[in-house]
Every structure is written in C-alpha cells, then in structure tokens.
C-alpha cells in the first residue's frame, strides 16, 4: 500500500502541477488575445441603426410605432424629406396636426393568398416601400452568394441554409431546382445570363431570403413564409419613417454633429446622413489630377467639400487654398497620396462625431436614415469570458487537452502514415540510433582524452566549437551533402544518426572524461601498490568509477538525441516522424494538436531518459545503493 502510493505520488504531483499551474498559465498566455477581442471594435458585432416605419400607415394622422419616440431625438420623414408641418408625439403614437401630407396608398399585391403561395408580383418602387401583412410591417432581407454567375456556374455558397432560395423572380424548389451540400447550393441548371443582361445582374444569381421577404427581380416579391389564407398583403405607396436627429447646434456655423449611437463603423456603405432632403454622400470624389509629388493644383468635380489626404482631413486656408473646383496646396501632396473630396468626414468614430463640409443653414435638420455601429464585443462582457470563448487558446487549458486527445487519436488511425504511434516509433528508432552513434563517439573521445592527455587540449576546443554551430544551420547543409552521396533520410537512418549523434556526443564526451578522471585517489594508490599497468588501471578501475558519470551523461545525451532527431525530421520531405508532425501542426496553426505532440515528445524524452536508468541498473547493479 505504502509502496504503491510512493510510486503514484510523482504522478499525482505532476497532475496537480499541471492543473494548478495550467489554468493560470493558460489564462496569462491567452490574456492579450482575449483583451484585444474585448477591446478592439473591429472584433465586435455590428448593429445597423435605421429609421423605422410605423406599424400602420393607412391613417397618417394617427401613426403608431413599435417603440417610444421623442421629438427631441427624432423626426418624421416622408419620402426622404423631413415633415415640416406640426405633429405631436406621445409615447408610441404620433399625431399630425394638419393634412399636409399626401395620404399613403396601400396596394394589395397580386397573387393568391391561400397559405401556400409565396410569390407575388408588383412593380418595384424606386425606393423600398414598406410591405404590410395585415397590420404587421414586414422586414426585408436577403443574402447573395459571393460567386458571380457566368452562364455555366452551378454552385454558390451561402453562410447559412435557413430561409428559402429564389432566382430570376422564381422560388427555387429544393430537390428539383437545387440541392444543398452544407452551405453550398448546386443548381440543377445554370442560371441564365441572358435573363440577367435584361435586368439587374444581381437577379442572375440565386438569393437566400433571410428577412420576411425579398425582391427576387424588379417585379417579384418572394416571402419566406406563405401568408395565411384570408390575410391581406399590401405595399405602401410612400415611405414614412421615424428617423434619428444628429446632436449639434444648427446655427449656420456649426459643422460638428454627433450620431446618437457610439462606435461608428467607418467603412459603412449603407450610411445615409441627410441635411433636410439632401443626402450627404459617403463616398469621396477624386480630383482630375494624380498626386505625383510635384503637382500642387488639383481640380475636383465640385466646389467646396472637405479635402482629405490619405484619410486625414486637411484645413482650408492652412493646408490649401480653394477657388471653386480648383484647390491649390501650399506643399505638393506626396506621390500616390490619395486626395478625396467629401461631403462630410468622421472626425471621431468612437464618439460617432461627424464634421460636415458646409454648416447646415439655421432651421434645417440633420438626420440619419441608416448607419452602422459596433455594438458590443462578440466574445463576452469581460476578459475572462473572452478568454474562454477563444477558438484556440495559445496554451490549452489542461482539461481541454484531455478532451482533445481522443479526437486527435481518432483523426490519425493506425493505417495512416500520420498515426501518432507509428510516428513515435519512427522517431524512437532514430533517437536510439543517434544515441548509440553519439555514445560511441563520446566514449571513444573520452577514452582518448584520458589515455593521451595532450589530445584533450588539442581536440576539446573543436568539440566545444562544434556545439556552437547552430544545428538548424547545419542540418540543411548535411542533408545536401549526404544527398550528393545518394543518402537521403527516406532511404537511410544515417542523416538522423549524424544529426542526433552530433548533439548527444558532446555531453557524453564531457561526462565520461570527467568520470574517467574522478577515480578515488585511494583506489589509484591501491592499484599502484599492486604494480598494476596503465591498462589494468583503466579497465579495472577507471571504467567502473566512471559508470555513474557515463550514465548521467547518457541521460543528457538521450534528450539531446531526441531533439536532434526531431530537428532532422523537420528538415526533410520525408513526411514521417514526430518532428515532421510538429512542423505540420505549426504550419497549420493547430495549437491543440501541437501541444499534444509536445506532450508526446516530452513523454518520449522521459521514457528515453528512464530507459538509460534501467540499463544502468542492469549494467551496474552495485549502483542500487544510491
């Protein structure tokens, strides 16, 4: 009982250390990445802020919205124009005080509403007018695949398989028109390019309806779900929306405004900022001339605007003089510098601060129809959650290793060349040969050093110098030279033996030399009193006295041989052995498998060093007392 505990104890210590230190260590190593995921806005989820339609537009004098609204932060917009006439706002309700607006017509869509039909025809309005199912406002939305149709292509990839697929104004029937393999959709016949030439090219590729509905071509609406029989499906004739006001004084001078949601996404093509009914363009405009490092005068398509150089806003009067469309710089912009003219620029994305090129005239409204902000970290609310949600921890969590191991071994079955056991055996063979080679050379050198003393002074500097040559530099050279002799690592164990032996012979030489010299003077006196010859002293005393040193140096040498063998395996197109497997996982960036391979190679090292110990007990039983 006591004995088995003694044997078990080291294992328990190892496990305890692995677990107690493993978690804090893994956390420490993963902390920077987790912190970046938490704090870097580019890794956050995005939220699109939109002006929103009322639930019902049949009676404009009594509009109801799904959320509470406030006249301070928002405004009513009719067909892209702020409503000037007076209205009152109370909670979710809005009441227009006069009938100044054109009434909104609700046009029923043509098509059967029988609980089956999902396709309806109507002329598509130039702006997206809202669609109502009974009193419910429907949400549009679709996804288009990245592949371009070319009249031949059959496969298109999507991010998800939810929803229905449509093409050329037709609902696609699963099994008949297409098959799905994962998220890859394969059409039964290629999408016609001829049809797409006639219309917008987008309709030539299949779309996935992700919202309640989507336009499948210029005259066809496809609903994700068929409206139940008896319900009404109506398209409004005009767009009425509640839009967001921008914060900022409108006094004819102020040009700085804030959006109400922070952390603006800078490269947002959907952003729509208006001054009254005038849409400020998000896209910049190029001058006619290119910046070549010499030109100072540039002609822009329009007068005014904010001029930016490589994304940085310049100051009029200080950096340049503007005269109509012509801009003259004090210093020529650098070659290939990107000059752009903007209606407005983002001064501070985090604070969602915009600077307009022209100050809005007093009495006008600055409002946003739609814009996108970074919402919140995708990974969680704190560093710890973000750490746990990392897809790959730089240092894996201890328990995670145990759960990964079975899949790792299942991934490489015995039949496969990449099977771990086979790789380990291959590497073990190389290590053994390398150790024997290094041991032979090491012992030979040590014996020579002890027997012929001057030889040590002559050769030891070279032996030491050999170890300062980086093995990484040596291996390709050696492989190259041996290849000239027709010896490759695929056909011969020699390269591995040389590289592993090269690393292991040094500790063995040093250890064995020290051992052969470390004879008790008393033992030497005794041999002298027996008038023993030099050889008798060597073989009957020195060799035996050196045994503990030799085995200790062989233990170091065994570890060095393993390292050398692993390195030699990374250097070749051999595709065998643990070293090659490690290299493969490094290149694949597969942290979990990499750590498993590390652990396996450390275990190999332990086994090899212990094996030297077993041999020692076998060869030198007298050492048992130690």
């Amino acid at each position: 009982m006591k004995r088995s505990f003694d044997n078990l104890f080291p294992l328990l210590v190892v496990l305890a250390v692995l677990f107690l230190l493993g978690y804090p260590f893994a956390f420490l190593m993963g902390y920077p990445l987790a912190k970046t995921n938490l704090e870097d806005h580019n890794r956050w989820s995005q939220q699109t802020i939109k002006a929103f339609e009322p639930v019902n537009v049949s009676d404009l004098s009594n509009l109801k919205f799904t959320d509470s609204i406030s006249a301070e932060t928002g405004l009513l917009v009719f067909e892209g124009t702020p409503v000037r006439s007076a209205y009152t706002v109370d909670g979710q309700l809005l009441t227009l005080e006069s009938d100044s607006l054109q009434p909104v017509q609700l046009t029923p869509l043509s098509g059967q509403i029988d609980g089956q039909n999902q396709v309806f025809r109507t002329e598509r309005p130039t702006t997206d007018h809202p669609l109502y199912l009974n009193d419910r406002l429907l949400e549009p939305g679709y996804e288009k695949p990245p592949e371009k149709p070319d009249g031949v292509r059959l496969t298109f990839t999507f991010t998800d398989t939810q929803g229905v697929f449509a093409l050329h104004g037709q609902l696609l029937v699963p099994g008949k028109d297409y098959t799905l393999d994962g998220t890859t959709l394969t059409l039964s016949q290629p999408a016609s390019l001829w049809l797409s030439l006639r219309t917008e090219p987008d309709w030539a590729r299949p779309i996935r309806v992700t919202g309640d509905y989507a336009w499948a071509d210029d005259a066809t609406l496809v609903l994700k779900q068929a409206p139940p029989a008896g319900s009404t499906l109506q398209l409004a004739s005009a767009v009425v929306r509640w839009a967001q006001r921008l914060d900022g004084v409108v006094d004819g001078q102020n040009r700085t405004f804030h959006l109400r949601h922070k952390n603006l996404v800078s490269n947002d093509a959907q952003r729509q900022i208006y001054v009254d009914d005038h849409l400020l363009r998000t896209q910049g405009r190029r001058p006619q001339q290119r910046a070549d490092g010499q030109t100072t005068t540039f002609t822009f398509p329009e007068p005014g605007g904010i001029i930016t150089l490589n994304g940085n806003a310049l100051t009029a009067g200080q950096d340049y003089e503007q005269n109509g469309q012509t801009v003259t710089f004090k210093q020529p912009p650098p070659r290939l510098g990107q000059l752009l003219q903007f209606d407005y620029v983002i001064a501070d994305a985090e604070q969602s601060q915009l600077v307009l090129a022209l100050p809005p005239a007093s009495g006008s409204v600055v409002w946003a129809n739609t814009y996108t902000v970074y919402d919140k970290p995708r990974c969680g609310t704190n560093v710890f959650e973000c750490f746990l949600s990392l897809p790959q921890h730089p240092v894996p969590l201890p328990h995670w290793l145990f759960t990964t191991a079975p899949t790792f071994f299942a991934k490489h079955p015995w039949e496969s060349d990449t099977n771990v056991v086979r790789e380990v055996l291959y590497t073990a063979r190389g290590t053994l040969v390398a150790l024997l080679a290094g041991g032979f050379v090491g012992l030979l050198l040590a014996a020579l050093f002890v027997i012929i003393r001057p030889l040590e002074r002559a050769l030891l500097p070279w032996v030491i110098a050999s170890q300062t040559v980086p093995i990484i530099a040596l291996v390709p050279m050696l492989v190259l030279i041996l290849a000239n002799f027709g010896i490759t690592i695929q056909t011969s164990i020699l390269p591995t033996a040389i590289i592993g032996g090269y690393l292991s012979f040094f500790p063995i030489t040093v250890g064995a030399t020290k051992g052969l010299r470390s004879v008790d003077p008393l033992a030497l006196d005794l041999m002298r009193s027996y008038a023993a010859s030099k050889w008798q002293v060597f073989f009957k005393v020195r060799l035996f006295a050196a045994v503990p040193f030799i085995f200790a140096s062989f233990k170091v040498g065994a570890a060095a041989s393993l390292v050398g063998t692993l390195i030699s395996e990374t250097e070749t197109s051999n595709a065998k052995g643990l070293g090659f497997a490690i290299l493969g996982q490094v290149q694949a960036g597969n942290v979990a498998d990499l750590w498993l391979l590390f652990i396996i190679s450390s275990l190999m090292g332990i086994v090899f060093v212990s094996a030297v110990g077993w041999v020692e007990r076998l060869v030198a039983p007298w050492m048992r007392k130690v």
Partner: protein
Amino acid sequence: MTEEAVTNEHASQVASAPIISATDVDKVFPGKGGQVVALQGTNLDIASREFVSLIGPSGCGKTTLLRLIANLDSISAGTLLVKGKTPQQARLDRDYGYVFQAPGLYEWRTVKRNVELPLEIMGIDKAERQKRARRLLQLVGLEDFEEHHPWQLSGGMQQRVSIARALSFSPSLLLMDEPFGALDEITREQMQQEVLRLWSETHTTTIFVTHSISEAVFLSTRVVMMSARPGRITEIINIDLPHPRNEDTRESERFFELVTEAREALRRSERASG
C-alpha cells in the same frame, strides 16, 4: 608467484638482513608557501617477523614513512631499502600488502572479487584466485559474505575484507595505515585480536600506523615514537608482552606499565619538539 615460492622466500628472509632499512631518510614536499619537511633524518631497521607500530601526533610523518616504504611517494634524501631492494623494485615485486585507513573496496566488485583483484592483476588463473580468496576470507571470518557487495557490509567487515585483500598474494610485508581509525572501540579490539592472530598465523612482518597508544602496545613487538615539525623518530620502545596476547593481556600489570612508558616517551618527544 606461487604460494610455495612466497613461503620459501619468506623463510629465507627470516635469517638474513632487515626487511626495512632506512638510513637518514628525508622527505620534503614542495609547497606554495615553501617546502614542508615531512621527515628528517629517519633511521629505522625492521627485522623479519616483527610487528612495529609507528605512533605520534598528527603531522609527525608516520603515514609518510609508510608511503615511502610502499613507494607511493619517493624519498628526497637518504637510503631506504625494502628487502634489500629499492622501494620501487619492492613494489614491482609485490613485496607488500597495503591496508589504508578507509577500506578502499571497489564497490562494483563483490567481496570475493575484491580479494581476487591483486591476484587478477598479477595474472593468476581463475581457479587459483578463487581458492586463495576463499581461504583468506575464511581467515578473516567472512566466508559467508563472498558474494556480497561492499556496501552491504559493516565498517569492520569492510576493513577485514581490505586486510584479506592485502594478504591475498601472501606478501612478506604488511603495511597498515590506521586501519581501525574509523571503527568503534569494541570492533576495534576484536580487529586487533584478529590482526594478531593473522600475524602469528602468516608470519608477515607488519608495520602499523596508529594514534592509539594502547593499540600500539597491545599489538607490537616494537613501538616507534615520532614527533612533528619536522617529522622524526624520537624513541623506540620494545614491547616484551608475551605471546599469544588476549583480553587478559590488556588487564595485565606489564601492559599498563608499558602503556605508561609509551605515553611518557611521547610526552618527552612532544616537549623536545615543542
């Protein structure tokens, strides 16, 4: 060298000249802080079959003298003859067995193979080696421990193996350098008894270095007093205790007288050098 030859040679030595003959022997060790004179003007003759103890304070050169005789060090001046030959020749002829303070057993050899080692070096064949080793182990009472390794034996047993090893090739001279220094009093007295028994059985001339006055008196036929700085012989006392000596000898009147005499002689030599 066969056993008979050794015995014959031994017998021929009895009548002839002294086994050790030292005349004006000096030993100087060169050192960083100047030379150290370990022995000065040493004159000593030891006859065959004698048991001579060298006794004196630390640094008096008693071990040095022993090592000079064994040719483990060489003399600086004077003449030293061992069995009428130079010490080196005597060593090469394997004329002596040496027992150190530490047993100095080779831990990778069993007890028997340790005893066999000198014979192995002399090139004696295996059967003969084993026969002699067994006989010597019987002589020191360790025949049951032949196949043990040194670390399995007690300190006293190890020292007995070491003595057996020194005697394995039947040298005519046995040099012992404080062999019982590390042993406890009881074991020590047993070992002394044993050494006396071996001495009387093998007729081996013995030179014995010790710190203990009573040990020297109990064992020896002559006790050589030495003093330090520089190491030299100051006085030699003849011990006329009758043989065989045993536990009763230790309690005899004469034993105490001789111990007292030796102690006073030592004090005298201390004062002289002091």
